[in-house]
Amino acid sequence: LWKFSGRNKGQDHFSDMISNVLFNFVCNCVLLQIMELCGATRLGYFGRSQFYIALKLVAVAQSGLPLRVESLNTVKDLPLPRFVVSKNEQESRHTALYSSDADNPASYSGVIPPPPGRIQQRTSSDQQESTSPVVSPQQSPPTSPHTWRKHNRHPSGGNNERPLAGPGPFWAPFSEAQPGSSTSSDPIWSGHSPPPHQENWVSFADTPPTSALLAMHPASVQDQTTVRTVASATTTNEIRRQSSSYDDPWKITDEQRQYYVNQFKTIQPDLNGFIPGSAAKEFFTKSKLPILELSHIWELSDFDKDGALTLDEFCAAFHLVVARKNGYDLPEKLPESLMPKLIDLEDSTEVGEQTGEVGYSSSPAEAPPSKSPSMPSLNQTWPELNQSSEDTAIVHPVPIRMTPSKIHMQEMELKRTGSDHTNPTSPLLVKPSDLPEENKMSSSVKYTSGNTVTDGYSSSDSYTSDPEQIGSAVTRQRSHSGTSPDNTAPPPPPPRPHPSHSRSSSLDMNRSFSVTPGQQQAGVVAYPPAVPPRPQPSQGAGPHVHRPVDADGLISHSSTSPQQIPEQPNFADFSQFEAFAASGVNKEEDDEIETHSEALQVEKPSDSASSLRVAKADGRVDEKVPANVPSSGKGTTPLAPPPKPIRRRLKSEDELRPEAEEHTQKTGVIAAVLASQPSIPRSIGKDKKAIQASIRRNKETNTVLARLNSELQQQLKDVLEERISLEVQLEQLRPFSHL
């Protein structure tokens, strides 16, 4: 120990950490005492030995022993013996820990007199515990785990903050946990670099105070590393411990997470992007784990099964790698704390949210479907959707409001959550593409028929909330305005994109889940993208002609697209629409040329508007599709699509009109533009100049709307990704109980 004391010099910084850690599980007064004792005896800083001493004191305090110099002395003098005597297993473990620590780099200078003794004890205890799987990297990495584990134990005791908690509880559980404790994660970053001690923490997974420590013992025996790591680890662990109210061996600490994020950045600068499989493979191969294990880690961490790793997935994978290197067995299932966070990057909150969202989504699911059948006016539907989203919002803290700001908020959220979203590009919408968001954007913009869904998804996150009608309408419009060729079968109308779609993944997921429950959703999801393109091109011309007003044009445009989607419902809608259009404008035959031009102009605004809608639809569709695909892997219910398209169409018609206005409201700029548009049409037929002016205006509006559309599609994509991952999680949670 003494020899290590010199080494501890450099651990002044640890003192802070340690103190923090210690504070966590020891009341302040006790901690102060400990500090005093340690500090007094030691060099005035929390060297490793100090740390050990402190730990012991903590244990002592926890075990209810009076924290006195005497105890400290005893600890120092007979750390091992005392522990051993009083609590055989625990102490031995504890001592083992210490001894291991001592061995390694532990510099219990003066504090831990019998390091060898401890070591022996530890060894024995280790052997007892031998179950601990730790074996692997016993060299440098293990040390950190050791300390880490040790700390874990302490923290657990500390968490109780009771004197009696003591190391005892830790130790005991550890020994028990040992046998099975593969979870104790002693992630040592040995493979990755000689991370500074801080990094060691990072690598620490939360090991349950109990098992982890025990497991650590065996590992610690051999390791070497370092007091620093140990200390840091402990500190980290302790800190972590305190934050985590439950024993989660797989929890990622903040430091660890930071490290992971940095590593992610080295591979993929865009935090919201993906790491392609090949790059990830190279990276993780560096860790020198066997391919089989890496393969398993990949299976666990590639949550959306897209062959690429988002930031969260990457962190989870990295965490697992570290854990494995530290000797922890890989779990069979992805631990909850490692699940990709759909909403945000916070571990704990995320998990809860996700579960909450999942549970919650069902309720919103019902809301939208119910609304669509009723065919409320656009205004009604939108508010209703908002309502549902708001319900879902309850789960997620992010409020949902039907306002333009919401869209922005959603977008912001999207950016925040970012990486977890998978891009559902596959036709099945099960496997999101690896495209980075940029790609998604572009794809969404292009709106290729094949990937209509994906395209839609990527762009209109914000609108995903409003699933069916809007979504379908939007998608269709988007496709129309976009370059995608007509899609094939008219997909069921996606749920109307909910304007109030909040970014919170919970909301989205809720919506998506709500969509999922109905098989209709599946049908709807798959189809919406297809529908838009088709109806738009064909229908667009017709209605446009009839529409003197841009807004009308928009409406007709959207209506046409919906029509295309479902054959029959389209007819119904179309007829309605036609009636509307006809009534709206009676200039069908009057100005062919002008109508054409009008149509053009109308198309533009309508395109932009539709793009908005499409974005929404896409978002919803995306949500639905991924949800549907995973949920109803097998087939889609044909029933769902037909009613949806009808609803959608009707809604879209209504929506188009009010939406045109609403959209503009949502986006101030757009609103202004759109507002100007209606006025334009009136004069079109009359004056060519007016027409040209309107054309110009429409173009401007179009660009604005296109921009908005792309944004929305981006959001949609994100939301869909979230949805997909949530669904995947849901499926994973549901043990293949269904075919």
């Binding site: 393969s295 299976e299 099964k305 892997g633 109980s737």
Partner: protein, 148 residues
């Protein structure tokens, strides 16, 4: 499905087609007579190949439901499924599992295919390797438990 010991025997094999037809994965439930099932799977490959070549232009016929090889004594059925990449899935089911309907078989194959695709997504998996994925194993086990 029966619940007897030997009643519901299902045997699933995944054969990697492209160059050679060697099995990537074989699992049986229950595990008795496994060798016989291996043999059955292998011999059924010929029939599968026959069907593939027969399809000619319809190159992509996912749902190749092969009902045949009713072995006289054993009376089991062999189902086949071919993916676009010529990976064959063969399932041998005991005829005592009379409740196994065609749809169920199809859905099982679909699940198998999905899981196989997931495996393919894993960059650490080299096509042609034996499949050791635990997730895949779990899926197959659960699926077979369902039918047994």
């Amino acid at each position: 499905m029966e619940t007897g010991l030997f009643s519901g025997s299902v045997h699933i094999g995944i054969i990697y087609h492209p160059p050679q037809n060697y099995p990537l994965y074989i699992r049986s439930v229950p595990t008795e007579n496994e060798l016989k099932f291996h043999y059955t799977v292998h011999t059924s490959l010929d029939v599968v190949d026959e069907k593939i070549s027969a399809m000619g232009k319809a190159m992509v016929d996912q749902r190749e439901l092969y009902l045949g090889l009713l072995y006289p004594t054993e009376d089991y059925k062999v189902y086949g499924y071919v993916t676009n990449s010529k990976v064959k899935f063969v399932m041998v089911v005991d005829s005592s599992n009379t409740a196994l309907r065609d749809n169920e078989i199809r859905s099982m194959f679909r699940k198998l295919h999905n899981s196989y695709t997931d495996i393919m997504c894993n960059p650490f998996y080299n096509p042609g390797d034996r499949i050791h994925s635990r997730a895949f194993d779990n899926m197959v086990n659960s699926m077979m438990m369902q039918v047994c």
